[in-house]
C-alpha cells in the first residue's frame, strides 16, 4: 500500500512526457515560454534536444526560411504556434523538417502500438475499447498521417512551426493518448480481477460456516476472509467512482489539466493492485486454514 514513490514517479514521468513533446517543438522554435509548470521543469530537456540537433543559438524566424526575425517570448495557450526561442533558420530548415518528420513517424508508430494494446486486452470492456479506438483510429492517426503528408511539402519555417505545433498540441500522443490508453486498459484489468474475486465470496463464506458447524476452528480463516472482503470492496471502488469514464473524458484539448487526473488514476490503480494481491493471499490463508 506504499505508493508514495510511485506517485512521485508519476508526477515526474508525466512532466517528462511533456518535456519530450516540448523538446520537439523547441527544435523548430516552438517551445512555449510558460506552457505549464511541467513545461517549465522540462526546459532543460528541450534545450538539450535542441542542442543535439544543432538548432540552438539562432536568432530564429517567424516567417519564411529566408528571414531571421525573432518573435520574442510569449505565453502559450496551446492555440497558436507562438515561440519563445525560435530556432528554425534557413540554414537549419532541412534538419528541423527532418526532425519533425521523424517525430511524426514516432507518433504514428506509438498510436499503432496503442491500438494493438487495446485489441490485445482480454479484459477491457467493449465500451471502453470502442471509445479508445474511436479516438486513436478516428482522430489521432488520421491527423498525424495528414501532417506526415504535409510536412515534407513545407518550405518555410512558419509552415514547419505551424505543423510541429499541431503535431504536439493537437494530438498529445505521449502526454495524453498513451497514459490514457494504458490506464484505461489497466483499470479494466483491475476490475476484471476484482469481479472474479468478488464472485467467490459466497462460496468461501459458506465454506467457513460449514466448517464452523462441524466444530472446526475457523478463527484464522474468518480473519483472513474479513480482510479479503475489505480488500475486494476497496478495489471495487474504482468501478463505483467511474474512473474509466474519468480517464476517457481526458482529451488533448484539455491538457495539461489531464496530468493530475492521470496521476490520481495511477495512484488508485497501484493501490487496487495491492488490494487484489492481498485478497489473493487472504484466499490462500483461508484455504490453508480449512483444508
Amino acid at each position: 500500500m506504499t505508493t508514495g514513490p510511485d506517485h512521485r514517479l508519476a508526477r515526474r514521468a508525466i512532466a517528462g512526457g511533456l518535456a519530450l513533446t516540448l523538446g520537439a517543438l523547441a527544435a523548430v522554435g516552438l517551445a512555449p515560454a510558460a506552457a505549464s509548470a511541467a513545461g517549465a521543469r522540462s526546459s532543460a530537456t528541450a534545450t538539450s534536444l535542441a542542442a543535439s540537433t544543432g538548432l540552438t543559438g539562432s536568432a530564429g524566424s517567424a516567417g519564411s526560411a529566408g528571414s531571421s526575425t525573432s518573435t520574442g517570448s510569449s505565453t502559450s495557450t496551446g492555440s497558436s504556434p507562438a515561440a519563445s526561442s525560435p530556432l528554425c533558420t534557413p540554414s537549419t530548415f532541412t534538419t528541423a523538417q527532418q526532425m519533425v518528420e521523424s517525430a511524426l513517424a514516432e507518433r504514428f508508430t506509438q498510436l499503432n502500438a496503442l491500438v494493438s494494446r487495446v485489441n490485445g486486452s482480454s479484459t477491457i470492456t467493449s465500451s471502453d475499447k470502442s471509445a479508445l479506438l474511436s479516438d486513436i483510429q478516428g482522430t489521432e492517426l488520421p491527423g498525424i498521417q495528414a501532417l506526415q503528408a504535409k510536412v515534407p511539402t513545407d518550405t518555410t519555417c512558419a509552415q514547419l512551426r505551424t505543423d510541429a505545433h499541431s503535431m504536439v498540441y493537437g494530438y498529445w500522443v505521449y502526454a495524453v493518448m498513451t497514459p490514457q490508453t494504458d490506464l484505461v486498459v489497466t483499470n479494466d484489468a483491475a476490475m476484471a480481477a476484482d469481479g472474479l474475486l468478488d464472485g467467490l465470496e459466497p462460496a468461501v463464506s459458506a465454506w467457513i460456516r460449514n466448517a464452523q458447524a462441524h466444530g472446526i476452528d475457523t478463527a484464522d480463516a474468518q480473519a483472513a476472509f474479513a480482510d479479503y472482503q475489505a480488500k475486494v470492496t476497496a478495489a471495487g471502488s474504482l468501478a463505483t467512482t467511474g474512473q474509466a469514464a474519468t480517464l476517457l473524458a481526458q482529451t488533448p484539448a484539455s491538457h495539461p489539466a489531464t496530468i493530475p487526473v492521470f496521476e490520481q488514476a495511477r495512484t488508485n490503480l497501484v493501490n487496487v493492485a495491492d488490494d487484489l494481491r492481498a485478497a489473493r493471499q487472504d484466499l490462500t490463508t483461508v484455504i490453508d486454514d480449512l483444508s
Binding site: 514517479l9 508525466i14 458447524a213 497501484v270
Partner: protein
C-alpha cells in the same frame, strides 16, 4: 443365446455393486485430499461433496477450485503487466523516440 442373456443380467448387477461400493467409500478416499504443503492450493472442485458422507465432507471441501485460483493468478498477472506498461510509458515517454 444363453450366455448373452446371462451377461445382460450380470453386467448391470456388477455396475450397481460397484456404484454402491464407491458410494460407501470402498476403494477410494471419501474426503478431500489436503494440500501437500502450506500455500499449495487444493486440487478438487469447489463444492463437490462425496455421496454418502454428506455435510461432513463438505466442511472440508475447498470452496475454490485450482482452476479458479489459476484464473485469478492469471488475471492478477495481466494486471501487473498492464500496470508495468503504464509505468514504463509514463516514466519514460522518450522510449519510442
Amino acid at each position: 443365446m444363453q450366455p448373452v442373456t446371462r451377461n445382460r443380467v450380470v453386467l448391470p448387477a456388477v455396475i450397481v455393486g460397484m456404484l454402491t461400493l464407491g458410494a460407501c467409500g470402498v476403494g477410494g478416499a471419501s474426503h478431500v485430499v489436503r494440500p501437500s504443503s502450506a500455500g499449495v492450493t487444493p486440487t478438487s472442485q469447489p463444492t463437490a461433496t462425496t455421496p454418502g458422507t454428506g455435510a461432513a465432507a463438505s466442511s472440508t471441501a475447498p470452496a475454490v477450485s485450482q482452476q479458479t485460483l489459476s484464473q485469478i493468478d492469471a488475471e492478477l498477472g495481466a494486471l501487473d503487466n498492464s500496470l508495468n506498461q503504464a509505468n514504463a510509458d509514463i516514466d519514460n515517454p522518450q522510449g519510442d523516440s
